[in-house]
């Protein structure tokens, strides 16, 4: 199936967020794709948006079924979460389970004033009552396909599909 160009979608998402997002909002990318998107958005949008990173492995709801994934990254939030406006950033929003885990983890660092959600692609298929505040593109994708964001050495982002649901 035809997927949108990741670079154009990021630019469209940045346009949507510019002026809408709080000037001092802090961006938190969910590893790994969300981290790349968060860095790009922070660079494209005016304002002071420090970037933090979250790895939700310790908060996932499928640990009993799948165990711990091999490469867990360090969650790094180089700012106060208490009282902050946080924009969680992910590459693909599907069931909403990663976002649920990320919100739970965030609150273990403090009580944010507000949490928003920005995603590059919203592919539908939600299993939890979670909706993005900002979405770059909305797509309908067959359940047996995953949408994967990858980054080339020069930093260019691309969207591809892979067999096997996310």
């Amino acid at each position: 199936m035809a997927l949108p160009d990741a670079e154009q979608t990021i630019a469209a998402l940045a346009d949507r967020m510019r002026g809408a997002v709080a000037f001092d909002a802090k961006f938190v990318g969910i590893y790994s794709g969300g981290a790349w998107v968060a860095e790009r958005l922070a660079a494209m949008i005016d304002g002071e948006h420090p970037v933090g990173y979250i790895d939700v492995s310790f908060y996932r709801d499928d640990f009993s079924r799948t165990g711990l994934k091999p490469e867990v990254k360090r969650t790094e939030l180089p700012f106060e979460v208490e009282g902050a406006t946080i924009v969680l950033v992910d590459d693909v929003l599907y069931t909403g389970r990663s976002v649920r885990a990320a919100i739970n983890e965030l609150f273990d660092f403090g009580r944010p004033a507000c949490v928003e959600l920005a995603v590059l692609v919203d592919r539908g298929g939600r299993e939890l009552p979670i909706e993005p505040t900002y979405a770059g593109a909305r797509l309908a994708v067959a359940r047996d396909l995953s949408i994967v964001l990858s980054r080339a050495e020069d930093g260019r982002l691309t969207l591809t599909t892979e067999a096997g649901g996310a």
């Binding site: 310790f58 640990f63 165990g67 711990l68 490469e71 969650t75 739970n104």
Partner: protein, 319 residues
């Protein structure tokens, strides 16, 4: 026969020994401990990973530090922790080890952290659980006799990697009572598996095992030549009971030859780190000036030990 630590898929399901454990399994534990180490810096020093699981600390032999750090590790993973000092209860009434285990499994234990004075006790429990098909119950060896203390070995490896980055360029000196030390045994296996080119055992002949060369370890009876050029110096505790067995002339004599003083440490590399598994005997194997000096990473070892045990518990629980 399959390695009893691994399941049919080759995943780690019990941690009994570092001997024969593939490098990728060790590296995965060390890598997983890195994000766990930063949890201590959060407002809420806890993650929900093992919520609803029960970890039984089964200590047939006393150990405050190891038991406490396992307890903290399990609690930071949100597991329920039950501490049993078995030495004072059932076994003294005649119950067998495996009957004790079966009773605790009937209480829905998910994991056993076992310390025992008999080498092989954790192995026996793990084999019993495997044989009876209770594959969801995991065993961690927290020290068995003279055999192994794998999580101590792993936290030593984590500490060395933290300060020295690459094992493949290191000279590591292990000083003291290697013969009776399960800590040394675990560390030697780990260092060798991760490709450390030079591992030295330094101590009096009476306290060094005879099979060291077979493990690829260089043997030194003289501390001065043994410490020369070391990147890492690991001091072992001199167990008081060894004095009684005529293995050593006196504490003073031991300290003179093998105790780590600033003068002896000066023979190692200028940026060498000093480690000790604890508890320390100041003035016996280590001088206070070294133990409290800037090259000592002894208290970092304790802190890292919690993260490493969190990694072990969560990897096992997921397999």
């Amino acid at each position: 026969m399959r390695n009893p630590q691994l399941n049919a898929q080759g995943e780690l399901t019990h941690l009994l020994t570092l001997e024969g454990l593939p490098a990728e399994v060790i590296v995965r534990i060390l890598d997983t401990a890195v994000p766990f180490a930063s949890i201590a810096e959060r407002d809420v020093k806890k993650v929900p990973l093992l919520r609803g699981r029960s970890v039984f600390n089964l200590f047939f032999e006393n150990s405050t530090r190891t038991r406490t750090t396992f307890e903290i590790a399990a609690k930071r993973l949100s597991a329920d922790v039950i501490n049993l000092n078995i030495g004072f209860s059932s076994t003294s009434k005649g119950e067998t080890l495996l009957d004790t285990v079966d009773n605790l499994v009937a209480m829905n234990a998910d994991m056993f952290v076992v310390r025992h004075s008999q080498s092989g006790a954790p192995h026996l429990i793990a084999a019993h659980l495997n044989r009876t098909g209770r594959l969801h119950v995991h065993v961690v060896n927290a020290g068995d006799g003279r055999h192994q203390h794998p999580t101590q070995g792993l936290l030593d490896l984590f500490t060395i990697r933290h300060y020295k980055k690459d094992f493949r360029a290191l000279t590591v000196g292990i000083v003291g009572d290697v013969l009776h030390s399960r800590v040394a045994r675990s560390l030697i296996h780990g260092l060798t598996t991760l490709g450390t080119p030079e591992v030295r055992a330094i101590g009096p002949k009476t306290l060094l095992p005879t099979d060291l060369q077979a493990l690829g370890v260089q043997v030194y009876n003289d501390t001065h030549s043994g410490l020369a050029g070391c990147d890492v110096v690991v001091m072992l505790r001199l167990q008081n009971e060894r004095m009684k067995g005529a293995l050593l002339p006196s504490v003073g004599e031991y300290f003179k030859h093998y105790g780590l003083t600033p003068e002896k440490l000066a023979l190692a590399k200028p940026d060498a780190i000093v480690m000790h598994p604890g508890p320390m005997n100041r003035g016996v194997e280590i001088d206070s000036a070294v133990a409290d000096g800037e090259r000592s990473v002894i208290f970092s070892q304790v802190t890292f030990g919690i993260a490493v045990r969190m990694a072990v518990l969560s990897i096992l629980a997921g397999n």
